[in-house]
């Protein structure tokens, strides 16, 4: 392997590591935020002390999680310039704008108002204090929008022209209303809500298993299920429609995610296969195929045509010159399935949970409680696989059809530097993960009723004086 491709590979590995890691924390923030805000709203409206306890209980988990999201988010902003200088010069005119707006209009809101919420229990009226949380949540949701506008431009560039080898913005409205971005936004925000509700539900189930505070956690479980059941179902539909939009923007990504070498019409969906992931070995040794389903998923019609990898490769070669324009088919194929199957599994868990809840059997169904606890891992699997599909499916392009990843790295940054930084990031991030998991586990198991009694309303829990913040 030559040095130039080593530095690109290491930079890719670093960007993948840091952004996947960042996105372990972001969607839980996106989803748990509104759920905690709803619980605080219910407390504000009804005065029911249980909702206050739940607000604090899940609010603590929200903040532990949020801290790492903030810490690792800055890395993402710096890495574009640090590792991808050619990319940054090429896209800055277009891509920089939503990123800057995100910081100024969204992240600022989130960071400032969360500080008000955390420390404002005694300083603000209950109404204003509640509003600070909703504004912070609004900030996180706005933030997601601008980040996805930026990312979607890499998937489907719109509203630009190329001048002197640089992309220049020609229409900010085209950028902000990019169909790809809007679909990706809905898909991602639903993913956030799934994170929030599935994680919350799993934690409730853990408390049911313990048999403590069952009444309290029933309320939280109900709220989690009210969100989880429709949202996991809706996400299956939205994800499917999003896939169809990707087909038109990035046919290669879809063909690769189906390991579809030859153009087909109608096309069956490969649910599972062994082999068939390389051009030399295009026919799977074994596969389970559902007739016509791929046609429907990719085009919306059961008779639709889906272009194969070989045809798309020939097309791109004639358009962009010789080269390999196919992503890693094996990785893209399996990441698509991991995402989709985890999504279906989450719907089943939520639906079954709701059924048991309605029959008042949830707390006794120990086998199911264990499943629900294990299901906490599913949104993480789905989100990680989803981003691997999105980003690896776009390769070899860093900006679809405009700039190749292999030409986008920083000329001034050597492979040695990236090797050093990658090693340090992995070490630091692992250490943070260990502490975070330990804290999350510890605080997910706290007994919310154990706080000192009789201190309701907006007063913060009275702590032993010596341990105040």
């Amino acid at each position: 392997m030559d040095l130039a491709s080593t530095v690109v590979d290491l930079s890719r590995l670093q960007f993948a590591t840091t952004s996947i890691y960042h996105f372990l924390f972001v969607p839980l923030t996106l989803g748990l935020g509104p759920l905690v805000a709803i619980m605080q709203t219910l407390w504000y409206r009804t005065g029911d002390d249980a909702w206050l306890r739940l607000t604090r209980f899940f609010g603590t988990l929200f903040l532990i999680n949020f801290a790492i999201g903030v810490a690792t988010g800055l890395v993402q902003e710096f890495e574009f310039g640090m590792n991808w200088a050619v990319y940054s010069r090429f896209v800055g005119n277009v891509f920089g704008a939503p990123l800057a707006i995100e910081g100024l209009a969204a992240f600022m809101l989130e960071a400032t108002f969360l500080g008000l919420w955390i420390f404002g229990w005694n300083r603000l009226s209950p109404r204003v204090h509640l509003a600070t949380l909703w504004i912070a949540v609004l900030g996180t949701w706005l933030s997601g929008y601008f980040i996805l506008v930026a990312n979607s431009w890499m998937q489907q560039p719109v509203g630009y022209k190329i001048v002197d080898g640089e992309a220049q913005l020609t229409s900010v409205w085209a950028l902000l209303s990019n169909g790809f971005a809007l679909r990706a936004y809905v898909h991602t925000m639903l993913a956030g809500l799934i994170f929030g509700s599935i994680v919350m539900f799993g934690i409730c189930c853990w408390h049911f298993l313990r048999g403590r505070n069952v009444e309290l956690f029933r309320k939280a479980a109900m709220l989690a299920l009210i969100v989880a059941v429709p949202v996991t179902l809706l996400q299956l539909v939205v994800g499917n429609r999003f896939g169809a939009a990707v087909t038109s923007a990035q046919g290669m990504k879809i063909a690769a995610s189906e390991a579809q070498w030859d153009t087909c019409q109608p096309c069956g969906f490969s649910a599972f296969q062994i082999g068939g992931f390389t051009a030399d070995d295009p026919t799977p040794a074994f596969s389970i195929t559902i007739p016509r389903l791929l046609s429907y998923m990719a085009t919306g019609s059961f008779d639709g045509e889906v272009k194969g990898l070989n045809e798309l490769q020939a097309q791109e070669e004639s358009e962009f010159g010789p080269g390999n324009y196919m992503p890693n088919v094996r990785v893209v194929y399996w990441s698509m399935r991991a995402m989709a199957y985890a999504g279906v599994a989450m719907f089943l868990v939520a639906a079954l949970g709701a059924l048991l809840y309605r029959r008042r059997k949830l707390e006794q169904a120990r086998w199911f409680l264990w499943i629900a606890i294990a299901a906490i891992s599913l949104p993480y699997v789905a989100a990680t696989a989803g981003w691997i599909l999105t980003e690896m499916g776009r390769q070899p392009w860093i900006v679809q059809g405009l700039l190749l990843t292999s030409e986008a790295n920083s000329p001034s940054v050597s492979a040695t530097w990236v090797a050093i930084s990658l090693t340090l990031f992995i070490a630091l991030y692992l250490a943070l993960l260990v502490v975070d998991l330990w804290l999350m586990r510890r605080y997910a198991r706290v007994d919310p009723m154990a706080e000192p009694e009789g201190e309701g309303e907006e007063k913060p829990p009275s702590a032993t004086p010596a341990v105040g913040y």
């Binding site: 949020f66 574009f80 800055g92 100024l104 001034s412 943070l432 105040g468």
Partner: protein, 348 residues
């Protein structure tokens, strides 16, 4: 007015805001291991910046984002050129960010010590590197004709840039101490006041020395005249002098003066830099300029509209936050957080 110049001004404004705001919370972090003598006093320090540090740090996110959008070539050259330095900044900021939320999550003295030091080391480290990094923009680093950095990590360290790093630490420590004189009470306030008086000396000596040197470096290495860089430098020197005088008697004014001194230092550096944004040395001709590094007119126009609408709002609500948390903090006040402190051990 040219939008490129306007955006250069906006970027300077964001960096100034970042130094002004995160400057004092870095300063508080620097004092953490040395000034408080009890857990209560340490808690006062943490609580004094607890509600605001995240909003303060966002000014860095905004400064970075604005540079990316308005001056992509500057952003690309600076961030890739200062690779290892920025990597270190990220590490310092990350351990500091998590320390705020995680420190209170256990009462074990050892746990709390770890996160106190994480916060403090992060504050010193980030301040040092920002000083070294930003002063390198003016002092000059080797760039090729594409604007790509051709030096090594060690090229970032020259007597002037290390001087800048140390000066930023001294300024922030003083700035943090004057901030604490507005937050502490009782006997602790007396001690914080003494700390501020002691810290005024290094801040004044280094600050004056650095501002004067910067004007010299601008003339010597960036083809500038004495005027205009001398103007903000003079304001900065006056502000630091006043801060050192007022710190005995008028803590509110002293804080205002350390704030002004900090902002004037950033403005002096960038005024010395203009119209270049990153000086190349050797091969001065490869320097990046406001014109050569900027985005096209349309992007700048869009961003201008956004900035003109959103920046006043940000100032308004952040100002309100400081108003909400304006009062002095008692050492024995109970926790302010919404979250349950572990008054009982969690179930294992």
């Amino acid at each position: 007015m040219d939008l490129e110049i306007f955006w250069f001004g906006i970027v300077v404004f964001f960096w100034s805001g970042y130094f002004l705001l995160e400057g004092f919370d870095f300063g508080v972090g620097m004092l953490l291991p040395f000034v408080p003598r009890s857990e209560q006093e340490r808690s006062v320090l943490f609580r004094s910046i607890g509600p605001v540090w995240d909003g303060n740090e966002t000014w860095l996110v905004v400064a970075g984002g604005a540079t990316f959008a308005a001056f992509p070539a500057w952003y690309a050259s600076m961030f890739s050129g200062f690779y290892i330095a920025l990597l270190l900044v990220l590490f310092f900021l990350i351990i500091r960010v998590v320390s705020f939320e995680w420190r209170t999550k256990s009462t074990s003295p050892r746990w709390r010590r770890v996160w106190l030091w994480a916060n403090s080391v992060g504050s010193y480290g980030a301040a040092l590197i920002w000083g070294v990094g930003l002063s390198n923009l003016l002092y000059g680093v080797p760039l090729d004709s594409n604007g790509d950095f051709t030096g090594t990590f060690w090229d970032l360290f020259s007597p002037y840039t290390v001087f800048a790093g140390v000066t930023v630490i001294a300024l922030f420590a003083f700035h943090g101490a004057t901030f604490l004189t507005l937050r502490a009470t009782g006997a602790f306030l007396d001690r914080v006041g003494r700390t501020a008086r002691v810290l005024s000396f290094p801040a004044l000596v280094l600050g004056v020395g650095f501002l004067a040197t910067t004007v010299g470096v601008a003339m010597d290495r960036n083809d500038k005249d004495l005027f205009p860089p001398v103007l903000p430098a003079a304001v900065g020197i006056a502000a630091l002098l006043l801060a050192a005088l007022l710190v005995r008697t008028r803590s509110g004014w002293a804080f205002a003066m350390t704030a002004l001194g900090t902002v004037a230092t950033v403005v002096t550096l960038f005024t010395s830099l203009y119209p270049r944004v990153m000086v190349s040395d050797p091969n001065f001709g490869n320097s990046l300029t406001v014109d050569s590094a900027s985005s096209a007119h349309y992007t700048l126009a869009v961003m201008s509209v956004v900035a003109l609408i959103v920046v006043p709002l940000v100032l308004l609500y952040q100002g309100w936050t400081y108003h909400v948390f304006r009062q002095r903090l008692e050492g024995d006040e109970p926790g302010e957080e919404s979250v349950p402190e572990l008054s009982t051990q969690p179930e294992a």
